[in-house]
């Protein structure tokens, strides 16, 4: 079975985010990007499926100064093919445009199954999965947290609110949006990543032209006022603990 995992980089929320001078975009100049967490789960699910059923897994990403290390990390984990869409795409590219870059590469690869993170924290025009499915003419199911492959189809566990899970049958080829891999993404030692840097091959693929899409016009981007409602308790852990104990008593907790 051929599996493709399109991935994207997102701002690292551990870092301080800032808005650019125009006030309508994040300031990406010095921003550290990291692999979208749910795409990391999609990579892991791809590896688990390969280990269970055999086949080949390709990871596809857009060019970015940070992307080679992400791809080599995937290789060190066991990913077979690393595909980089070349060019200089904007770091705030929306998913409708990203889809247009990924679809030609996927059409070339002809995967049976495309798996990707069900969402990214900076999605403003919906998740990429359904867009890829429509672009490829494949079926789509999102919020998936388990996949079993059977003759020409997959049985997936789709999550609903409250912890309810639907078991769905999806004929291949299909695109699945991964909510969580069956196991947490595996850890890989940096020495193995360094080794992959020396041995693994990144295939460059030219970027297709992006047609304009009817997206939202952003007029203002801003950071909400932090702690707008919280009364902050300052001081050492001892002082804060004393205040909290006093508070718990006032609230009738004990």
């Amino acid at each position: 079975m051929k599996i493709a995992v399109p991935i994207k980089l997102v701002p690292d929320l551990v870092e301080e985010l800032s808005i650019d001078a125009g006030g309508t975009s994040l300031d990406y100049a010095w921003m550290r990007l990291k692999l979208n967490e749910l795409d990391d789960h999609a990579v892991e699910e791809g590896l688990l499926l390969k280990e269970r059923y055999g086949g080949e897994v390709a990871v596809i990403a857009l060019n970015d100064e940070c992307i080679d290390e992400v791809l080599f990390t995937a290789s060190a984990k066991g990913i077979d093919r690393l595909v980089k869409v070349s060019g200089d795409p904007p770091r705030d590219i929306n998913n409708h445009s990203l889809m247009q870059l990924f679809v030609p590469v996927l059409q070339e690869l002809q995967p049976d199954l495309v798996i990707t993170g069900v969402q990214a924290h900076n999605d403003l025009d919906g998740p990429i999965g359904p867009l890829l499915a429509e672009g490829l003419g494949y079926s789509y199911v999102g919020y998936v947290s388990g996949i079993a492959v059977e003759d020409g189809s997959v049985t997936v566990k789709k999550e609903f609110p409250g912890g309810l899970i639907a078991e769905m049958c999806v004929k291949l080829p299909a695109v699945l949006g991964i909510q969580a891999a069956e196991h947490p993404p595996r850890y890989i030692a940096y020495s193995k990543i360094r080794q992959a840097m020396k041995t693994a091959l990144i295939e460059d693929c030219p970027a297709a032209a992006i047609q304009p899409t009817p997206g939202a016009v952003i007029e203002r981007m801003f950071q909400p006022t932090a702690g707008a409602t919280a009364e902050m308790i300052e001081g050492s852990p001892e002082i804060v603990a004393d205040q909290l104990v006093k508070l718990f008593k006032e609230l009738g907790i004990f």
Binding site: H96, L124, L131, A166, E167, A181, F248, L251
Partner: protein
């Protein structure tokens, strides 16, 4: 020609309408009161007329068929594509959920309509509709115009009350034809019930909940000790559950349980919208997070930026002392 009508795609699982649908109707009602458009609920179900009762809409577009008992994205897409193409509403509202997000993205491609997701608020003024979305784990707000003539919007909870989308009057029903759906590629085979677990966190009075700030599994003991000292239960946000450090039955959030305790003590939880929507009914939220910009402080009544790893053992000890004296 596009209208100023707002359509709400009603979400249901096993015969129950999801709360988000009522919130969407509340948002739609505020808009149509400003724009003069009509508010319609779209119910695709095996019992759509029964579901139409109680919906706070001017009319309900119902499609009734045994195949619609479960959410099958293919069938829903096919029906909605026809409805939106033929009727050209100004806005179609979906929940930004495991149902709505699957649908809205596909429809955006099929119809060539813009899609705005993570939308928290919609306002109308001078014939223009403005959206406010919340991205980057709640750390960034985005405002802009909703493009004309037809746009799809996937909304998150937080701004609108479900009660405002309910009604005692039975709205007028208009029937939609069920299309030919031969050659389906997807189907629902059954359901797996949520894990019962040893406790039902949705019924507990004191919930101590941990997030990524707990750092590693060994530190979970600190949080458990604190929960024990308070006489509460330990719960967690999604990353902790995905690591396998607590069972799924302890998940607080969009895909887990909603909680409404007397005290919700959030340890190292940033406050992403998917988590916050499940703790809003708590009597008191206290947040502990070293990041002063963490969105959790916008929903907490009290907060501190002391490191939870330093605070938890001291606090547990002081609680024991206070209880014994």
């Amino acid at each position: 020609m596009a209208t100023m009508d707002v359509y709400v795609v009603v979400e249901h699982v096993r015969g129950q309408i999801a709360e988000i649908s009522y919130m969407l109707l509340a948002a739609g009602r505020q808009l149509t009161e400003k724009t003069g458009g009509s508010l319609a609920a779209v119910v695709l179900s095996s019992h759509s007329q029964e579901m139409a009762e109680g919906l706070g809409a001017d009319r309900v577009l119902c499609c009734d068929h045994p195949s619609l008992v479960d959410f099958n994205p293919e069938i829903f897409q096919q029906i909605l594509t026809g409805v939106i193409q033929a009727r050209q509403p100004r806005l179609v509202l979906f929940g930004d959920t495991s149902t709505g997000a699957d649908l809205a993205g596909s429809l955006s491609m099929r119809l060539g309509c813009p899609l705005i997701s993570s939308c928290r608020k919609l306002t109308a003024q001078d014939g223009k509709v403005t959206f406010t979305s919340q991205i980057c784990g709640g750390k960034i707000m985005v405002e802009g115009q909703v493009p004309e003539p037809v746009a799809l919007v996937a909304m998150i909870p937080g701004e609108y009350k479900a009660e405002a989308g309910q009604s005692d009057t039975i709205p007028a029903v208009e029937w939609l034809p069920f299309p030919d759906v031969s050659g389906l590629r997807t189907g629902v085979m059954g359901y797996i019930e949520p894990e019962a677990g040893d406790v039902d966190i949705s019924k507990e009075e004191i919930v101590v909940s941990v997030g990524r700030g707990i750092q590693n599994q060994d530190n979970m003991e600190l949080a458990q000790d604190l929960a024990d000292a308070l006489g509460g239960v330990l719960a967690a946000s999604r990353p902790i559950i995905d690591q396998g450090w607590l069972p799924t039955s302890r998940l607080v959030g969009k895909s887990g349980k909603k909680v409404r305790p007397k005290l919700y003590l959030a340890l190292g939880i940033s406050g992403a919208p998917e988590h916050v929507e499940a703790v809003g009914d708590s009597e008191v939220v206290i947040a502990v997070n070293t990041d002063p910009e963490a969105p959790i402080f916008s929903v907490a009544r009290y907060g501190t930026t002391v490191d939870l790893l330093d605070l938890a053992p001291v606090l547990a000890e002081k609680i024991h002392l206070a209880k014994s004296s």
